[in-house]
Symmetry: C2
Subunit: 408 residues, 2 copies
């Protein structure tokens, strides 16, 4: 029951052309390469319009043409292909976890061109983490082709990020409150460039939806299992944000009123039963070792009774999520992805024992198709979005000397 979008007779032709240019690019970004014939079919525009748009993208240095594609659309001439330029625009993606920063240079098509990371343990203050991130950014920008424009930075953080301005209201496991991390990073870099900060699970959901396990699936939940637990939700094909951008805080769904106190101030949140500290505690580890959990979980070939108990609680919590959002797919990210092969039966039985059968019947569980890069690639997608909406404006705004200034 969506209200139809306005289609006026006074439509600005230039706006329509720019819009179509972005849509062509979005199709190529998703597919990697497409024939003009296929673009003609997908967009419902005529051949000459598509040819003109492809030519403009080429002039902008974003795409290049390939030889006639093998894919032939019935009779007629073979169609020229449109593919992403090797030294086209790129973004910087940052995945910040509690103890580590991963930075990558990512091109259109979700191509990770280079990555770098650093431990951030002990760097409590946001400005210290920002300086470490800036150093990593400089490193990956230095190796980029000199002609490639840097169009933006996307940063994933494990916390509540305010919609609109990207203020980190609360990143509990970093102990950050009301931090404008975008300002911190830009100040450390000393340049002005489009930058977006978003919740890690929201970005995981975005990436898995765009090019992972959730391609073509309009209703999915990506669960981020790190030290904390959160979710990114795609509903009806669009991110579920909530009024402030805080939707999906499933780690703080009520799980057991007689459970453990939660850092959020409540008691017995799901995170207290299945978060990093709960897993560490279940296997007898001290809280300090929580960052080594992923490697440990990956190394296991069978689950102890304690981990099976965690599996059941994961399933029981997923039941609330499935009842609330009725997703077609739940992607288990982070620790949950490592646990899934070990305690699959416990998760499934916890879920099906507690969720409505109509909702359970339509859901599938999966690990991220993008593996550990889901959140990082989501950060890249968010940073690429302005380019996909308006390639001309985005390339025009990209200062070509930024890479040089950053590297220098």
């Amino acid at each position: 029951m969506r209200a139809p979008r306005r289609v006026g007779t006074g439509t600005n032709q230039e706006a329509v052309r720019r819009h179509n240019l972005g849509t062509v690019l979005r199709h190529v970004h998703r597919a990697g390469q497409l024939s003009r014939a296929e673009l003609t079919r997908r967009m419902g525009l005529n051949r000459s319009t598509i040819a003109a748009l492809a030519s403009e993208l080429e002039t902008l240095g974003i795409t290049e043409h390939s030889g006639p594609s093998e894919e032939r659309q019935g009779a007629g001439r073979p169609s020229t292909g449109v593919r992403l330029a090797a030294s086209g625009p790129y973004v910087i993606a940052v995945d910040l976890t509690v103890d580590r920063a991963t930075v990558a240079r990512v091109g259109l098509g979700g191509r990770i061109q280079q990555r770098a990371h650093a431990a951030t343990t002990g760097l409590g203050e946001a400005w210290q983490v920002g300086a470490a991130v800036a150093t990593l950014i400089r490193r990956v920008v230095a190796d980029a082709p000199p002609s490639a424009p840097l169009v933006g930075i996307g940063i994933a953080v494990p916390g509540l990020v305010r919609r609109g301005d990207g203020l980190i209201r609360l990143a509990p496991n970093l102990e950050w409150h009301d931090v404008s991390f975008s300002s911190v990073v830009l100040a450390a870099l000393g340049v002005e460039i489009p930058i977006v900060v978003a919740n890690d699970a929201d970005l995981g959901a975005l990436a898995e939806h765009e090019r992972g396990a959730g391609v073509g699936i309009d209703d999915l939940v990506y669960i981020s299992g790190q030290v904390g637990v959160g979710a990114g939700i795609i509903a009806g094909g669009h991110p579920l944000e909530g009024v402030g951008g805080y939707a999906g805080e499933v780690g703080h769904l009520r799980f057991d009123p007689n459970g453990l106190p939660c850092h959020c101030g409540s008691v017995g949140c799901w995170e207290t039963a299945v978060g990093g500290h709960a897993i560490a505690s279940a296997i007898g580890w001290s809280p300090e070792k929580v960052s080594q959990l992923p490697e440990h979980l990956e190394s296991l070939t069978s689950a102890s009774r304690e981990l099976r108990g965690i599996g059941s609680d994961i399933g029981r919590g997923l039941a609330s999520i499935v009842n609330a959002f009725n997703p077609q797919l739940v992607v288990l990210g982070g620790y949950f992805g490592s646990l899934y092969p070990l305690v699959r039966d416990e998760i499934l039985s916890g879920l099906s024992g507690a969720a409505l059968s109509a909702a359970v019947d339509s859901v599938t569980l999966s690990v991220p198709a993008l593996g550990d890069d889901a959140v990082l690639l989501g950060a890249a997608e968010a940073a690429l979005e302005p380019l996909l909406v308006d390639p001309v404006g985005s390339i025009g705004a990209a200062l070509l000397d930024v890479p040089a200034r950053l590297a220098g």
Copy 2:
């Protein structure tokens, strides 16, 4: 990050005109009456286009023109108004609860023209309830102006309704499983007419968003507190449906693993703590009297200790909802609306003690601005939707003799 909608150069002019016609009607439907100048402004079309569209709606018998509106847009001629025709198209709205069917004839603008209701207690079988509903429909159609076209029927049911075909997968408190209630009602009526069946809370959310407490609010949750508990969710301005249409089953969020068994097969769902039977039990009533609760709650001027306990549990459950959906507004429908004035402090303190402060800070609680008619008006909105998308097609498909055949 919504993908832009395609705006092709090959747009079908007739499709655009019909679309614009629907959009004009949607504006008038929402506002009740608008000047052409205001329509011109809102739609970004020129005066003569708006005049032609208004004239076409008039020819279809949907609107009529009013004298120049008082509202003058700066200099220039006073603008003619467009208002809804008194004997224009209408729909039948049905609100089915566990023990009662309410049927109304509703015109554009959400105007309830006539209503009828009947007790359905003891009519366990869907065909019996369908026959009772059909009788009520005949009654309200009989009194409609003979020239007014009946364009559809909308039915709200307390249960899981499958998206797409409206099959009632489960209406636990009616004890219905896999019932095609639309077919049942149409068979009882003996006519073919567009009919839509949807979840009651989803329709309450729709109505409060369109013309109630949630006008202009893009992120809201409507909680339906009846014998069962459910929610309708508007996220980013659009209904949150989930893949099967079952999203928002917040009555089955995990609340207390040591709680009561729930009819859904799980244990300690929120509904077992705050549903109709829990409220009846808290005040020492037998389960059979649950249908008399609303009148009883409305008659109270203060809350007992037991009801205050229910209030706290309502708040604690709302915390999970606020953490999951981050709404700007929560509308407390049904019993919850009756309880709210009595246990407001307990609800608010249960909520703020358990929800994330960033999410609590941005949410307001409210009773339905449409009162007990919220769900009924939502059923009307759902039935009117095809008319608002394509007035020409919808009026054309409305068999003008249906009212006569139904009444005769």
